[in-house]
């Protein structure tokens, strides 16, 4: 985000929050998520849109969409990355069905109020403050940003760290709907993400139409998959997703001269590239065409798809890391969404 745009959006959110005495909070928090971020929310709308100004979307009423828009707008103004908007909207879907709920008498859960069912007795604010959607969203984001590594956490875990719900598993089912709603709102508000420019821009890791998406980033079966798998024929060229320097290129398994298997540990033939704060990693290659220390350009062939290492078939396992160093699980981010914000649509180019 450019400085002027950041200031403009910050000012808009400050105005939105000022009546509740939250202007200072908004300005203070504006840079909270900026450190180490290469993709930050940018391009504010002329004015934040709230309840009543949106049409119904999908299965959500105009009022519900309006509250989601407030949540997204506040998040953008605070500099929270897009994933935080999804976490917040999904949380509100579960907690209040995206309704700004007042006290429900003897049916109320303790003293929970508002979009996020925040409790005055737990330090979330006064009832009047919590019942202001912009304040409630700000309070949610403030606590989310304090969760270490929240951008690498599954939605359920990130939401639960903030909400401390009695039903921590309940947030997950809203991820798809929240993602779709955030997309609609972000598009409507022109809240594109402004990724750091790299020479030559960003590129697909495999030729368009040559692959299908198989195993996505995320948890399942009591394990966590830290990359996106792209199934493709053996020998399909693998491209660097951006210009950078190869920081590692070689075999990361006991053997890479034989086909991989579920019993073989490691990533097989692997390349790691430093794009200047963002890293990319490409696993299970059949062969490599680059070496450590080599400079590469966006789209340059760095190897070919194979099935070396811990693998059951020919595919590219792609990981995106930020910030780097280091290339660790803790810095891995969801590749499809991240590249989408950088202007590369892996899903759209799949066969």
């Amino acid at each position: 985000m450019t400085g002027s745009l950041k200031v403009a959006l910050g000012a808009a959110v400050t105005l939105l929050l000022a009546p509740c005495g939250l202007g200072l909070l908004a300005v203070t928090a504006l840079d909270a998520a900026g450190a180490g971020e290469l993709c930050t929310p940018a391009r504010p709308a002329a004015a934040p849109a709230g309840a009543g100004t949106w049409p119904a979307q999908g299965s959500w009423s105009a009022a519900q969409v309006g509250h989601a828009a407030t949540i997204v707008t506040v998040g953008a103004g605070l500099g929270v990355p897009r994933w935080g908007w999804v976490v917040a909207v999904a949380t509100a879907m579960q907690e209040s069905s995206l309704h700004n709920l007042g006290h429900l008498g003897n049916r109320n859960d303790h003293d929970s109020l508002g979009l996020f069912q925040q409790r005055p007795s737990q330090g979330w604010g006064t009832p009047a403050q919590i019942l202001d959607p912009a304040y409630a969203a700000t309070a949610f984001y403030r606590r989310l940003l304090q969760v270490p590594g929240w951008q690498q956490l599954p939605l359920t875990e990130a939401a639960q760290r903030v909400q401390r719900s009695a039903y921590p598993d309940a947030y997950a089912k809203w991820q798809a709907e929240a993602t779709a709603l955030v997309d609609v709102i972000a598009t409507g508000l022109h809240l594109v993400q402004d990724c750091a420019a790299v020479p030559g821009g960003w590129a697909l890791p495999l030729p368009a139409g040559s692959y299908s998406l198989s195993s996505p980033f995320g948890p399942r079966w009591n394990r966590f998959h830290f990359g996106q798998d792209l199934a493709a024929a053996a020998g399909t060229p693998i491209h660097a997703i951006a210009a950078g320097i190869v920081v590692a290129a070689g075999c990361t398994s006991p053997r890479c001269d034989i086909p991989g298997s579920p019993d073989m540990p490691g990533c097989g033939l692997t390349v790691k590239i430093d794009h200047g704060g963002v890293g990319s990693m490409y696993c299970h290659a059949l062969d490599l065409t680059v070496h450590t220390g080599q400079r590469v350009t966006a789209g340059q062939v760095i190897g070919h798809v194979g099935s070396t290492g811990h693998s059951t078939g020919n595919h590219l396992h792609l990981q995106i890391h930020r910030p780097i160093p280091p290339f660790t699980n803790a810095t891995a981010v969801e590749p499809v969404q991240w590249l989408r914000t950088a202007g590369v649509d892996i899903a759209g180019a799949a066969r």
Binding site: A56, S97, G102, A166, L213, W221, R223
Partner: protein, 199 residues
């Protein structure tokens, strides 16, 4: 972006929240609005199942892939002209679950989409297909792992349609022996994840 693991449960605080008209309390922000009318199922939770877990009459539970498929279809089912509320779908899915998972599926459920669906007399049109996941663990005699791609679209009267929600459902199945019934493959847990790049 992360993907979250779900042992489906419902939030009683949210269930209570979708219940009553509320007083407007403002802070120069939008007024507090009336929540939608509660679904009967949300305000009147079903009784927990007795052991053994609920079953589907005549179904043999022999194929873990088919159990996973049927569970997915049940979980993503809805017909607002017939169902009492959004809690009915997990109740149907409980028929394919083991006792522990079934117990989590019969809690009250709130779904903020339900009022609009009911307004349009909508039902979910759901398609389920097998999904090959390269990271699936190897099956054993007591555990099996399957994945399904689920596409669910609410379709109502007069041509109304909501978004198609495309989701990956990862099934963990356990081979359990039920007294008087014998061995069956039952759902022991599941994880939901949006299909990458899906709208």
């Amino acid at each position: 972006m992360g993907i979250a693991t779900l042992t489906r449960s419902a939030a009683t605080n949210a269930a209570a929240a979708v219940a009553a008209l509320v007083a407007a309390v403002g802070c120069a922000g939008p007024a507090v609005e009336a929540p939608p009318e509660p679904s009967p199922a949300a305000s009147a939770p079903a009784s927990p199942p007795a052991a053994p877990p609920p079953g589907v009459p005549g179904y043999r539970y022999e194929d873990p892939a088919d159990v996973c498929h049927r569970f997915a279809a049940a979980l993503f089912s809805a017909d607002t002209t017939v169902d009492s509320g959004p809690a009915d779908a997990p109740l149907r899915a409980a028929g394919y679950a083991d006792a522990a998972l079934a117990a989590t599926l019969v809690r009250p459920t709130v779904d903020g989409r339900w009022p609009l669906w009911r307004e349009h007399r909508a039902r979910l049109h759901t398609q389920v297909s097998g999904h090959a996941d390269s990271e699936a663990p190897v099956d054993s005699t007591v555990a099996a792992y399957r994945a399904m791609l689920v596409a669910a679209t609410p379709v109502g009267d007069h041509g109304w349609r909501g978004w198609t929600q495309t989701t990956l459902l990862y099934c963990t199945l356990a081979h359990v022996t039920l007294a008087g019934v014998g061995a069956q493959w039952r759902m022991a847990g599941y994880t939901l994840a949006p299909l990458p790049g899906a709208p």
